[in-house]
């Protein structure tokens, strides 16, 4: 799908500085953007930063942003890895619906909750593995390979729930969606733990480097002795797993599995979060925490639009404006413009 262009010039971008001091982290455009969005929210709604402690958990708009942004953040963790390998996973929304449907149906037919959760996660792993097999063994472009599951997945989810919205009252599943741990909502805790684990595994081992190598040039990575096929399988399976976790949270939140609407269009939000986080769609360097930050920026904008009284549809226009700004900033055209500016030249 991506255009085949041959660019033999050396990359003009400097490599990602690592390890980075706190000062450079704070001046990242994503951090500034999040701060700006939060500041605008505060102007619109002065009580935005008020966080209160009630019934053993935290309450407030800020906590709400974290809580509502968690499902997309979890999707973005998996999506970052997929995009870093120069792929994309369109099926995550459908996988969310499948995972929620599996958990809900198992709980309502009398199985214990832990088994239902395991089965839902297993379903996500299988879906991810299926995508991975299509991409590696059959060598189908990722966007098309995952399109198959995106189209069929929702049908499968409806097959599992037999077309109904299956509601449940199982305390464990509801706890995953709405419970709290140390005062923080459970989705936030799960998203944060997953982000921390994924980042540690990727950055403290060679895995991240290998993923970047595959993303930049798959053939070269293969010639360098990497088993890029196995790596891609792992990455897509992980994305399926993340989608399943996200699906469990969404199902627990509404106490039911809605095969039609669970995770609808969330794949696009997840991709947007990853792109805002600075991971290039052309593969290569990636950052999981920045993608999670991207998800938070999207959610902060959503919340800001809601509390400012605009209709929620306005969200889409704002989102597209954000994408356009990012595209222009990332394009070679603006890179050339910036290089002409004094002080910015390398």
């Amino acid at each position: 799908m991506t255009r085949q262009t041959v660019d033999l010039r050396p990359s003009t971008e400097p490599p990602l500085p690592r390890p980075r001091p706190l000062a450079s982290l704070v001046t990242r455009p994503q951090v500034i953007a999040l701060a700006a969005v939060l500041f605008v929210n505060w102007l619109l709604f002065p009580g935005f930063f008020t966080v209160t402690w009630q019934d053993g958990r935290l309450f407030g708009s800020l906590i709400d942003v974290l809580n509502r942004g968690a499902p997309v953040a979890i999707l973005a963790i998996g999506m970052t890895m997929v995009i870093a390998t120069k792929g994309v996973d369109l099926s995550v929304g459908a996988v969310m619906a499948i995972s929620g449907a599996v958990a809900a149906v198992m709980v309502t037919s009398g199985y214990p909750a832990w088994l239902a959760v395991l089965a839902a996660l297993g379903a996500g792993l299988v879906c991810g593995l299926w995508n991975g097999i299509l991409v590696t063994l059959l060598e189908i472009q990722p966007i098309i390979a995952t399109l198959v599951l995106m189209v069929a997945g929702r049908g499968l989810a409806q097959l599992i729930t037999e077309g109904y919205i299956v509601t449940f009252s199982d305390p464990v599943l509801i706890f995953i969606g709405t419970g709290s741990f140390l005062g923080f909502p459970m989705p936030v805790v799960i998203a944060f733990t997953l982000m921390l684990l994924a980042t540690l595994i990727v950055r403290r081992t060679a895995l991240g480097l290998l993923i970047e190598a595959v993303g930049i040039n798959r053939s070269a990575a293969r010639f360098a002795g990497l088993s890029s096929g196995a790596l891609l399988l792992i990455v897509y399976t992980f994305a399926g797993f993340c989608a399943a976790v996200s699906g469990l949270i969404v199902a627990g939140d509404i106490r039911g599995a809605d095969a039609n609407n669970a995770g609808l269009w969330l794949e696009l939000d997840a991709i947007l979060a990853v792109v805002i986080g600075g991971t290039s769609l052309m593969g290569g360097r990636f950052s999981i925490p920045m993608a999670v930050l991207g998800a938070m920026i999207i959610q902060a904008m959503n919340t800001g639009i809601l509390i400012s009284g605009f209709s929620p549809e306005f969200n889409l226009v704002v989102k597209s404006a954000v994408i356009i700004v990012i595209l222009v900033l990332q394009s070679p055209l603006s890179a050339r413009l910036f290089r002409r500016l004094p002080g910015k030249s390398q």
């Binding site: 189209v151 049908g155 070679p332």
Partner: protein, 319 residues
Amino acid sequence: MTRSLRPLLATTLIFLFAYLLAVTQHPAMFSTRVLGNFLTDNAFLGIAAVGMTFVILSGGIDLSVGAVIGFTTVLIAVLIMWLSLHPLVAFAIALTVAACFGAVMGAAIHYLKVPSFIVTLAGMFLARGGASVLSPDSIGIQHAFYSGVSKSYILMPGGGRLTVVGIIMLAVFAVAILLAHRTRFGSNVYALGGSETSAALMGVPVARTTIAIYALSSFLAGLAGVVFSLYTSAGYSLNALGVELDAIAAVVIGGTLLTGGYGFVAGTFIGVMLQGLVQTYIVFDGTLSSWWTKIVVGVLLFMFIVLQRLVFRAGPRRT
């Protein structure tokens, strides 16, 4: 029989086989009535899929198709009902807006060097959002022209009705086949899909062609919106949700190669008809639920992708 015609042949055979199978179970399906409904019900999808065929032939993708259809229906409804313009004037305005929208996306893809996937994703958000900002509610269209169009049709032998909407789709396919295989623009599209670098070296005007391709795709999506508006007599921002996926599926099932450079517009027609057949069969059967459509289309999509891989395995690899 050249090797390159095989996917098209396979699609045609599978369609005929599937139709035959459906007819043996429900003999009523073999009638011009069903055929007429086929054409009418899938007209908007078919027209959108023609635009998608050109985009995919050039090695790109257009995710904004469904959103442009929705936006067009709302714009037409607003122009007719709120500004009381004649529908034909409203159609002209809507088609111009759609074509310009596509041209801007094409320009962004070419000059900003961003994947078409992400540009058209932004376009999708913009069109859906723009439509709901225009009017979040569904607007019904009451106009003499609309009721006139919906009443006029050509009676086919056997009682089938070939509606205006169906005729528009057939005409679009006929023009598109000529455009793809008999004009310089068509050759340029194929060349771009084969390899952009080689096409540029051969002297294909890459910028102009890219912009024209996306303008054409959005124009046809706008035309699909006009048809959708005639078909439902209403404008709603959530109309045609997910049609881009159906259109991509139709193009792939029709045997067009997703890496670009190879395919037939006629194949897309069969792809659309095959999806219509699945839907009609499920309606006729009555015991199968509607979600089976999605699963069957997904399975068909998978089958054809695998088929393409097998047929083109010997060809040059592009990863």
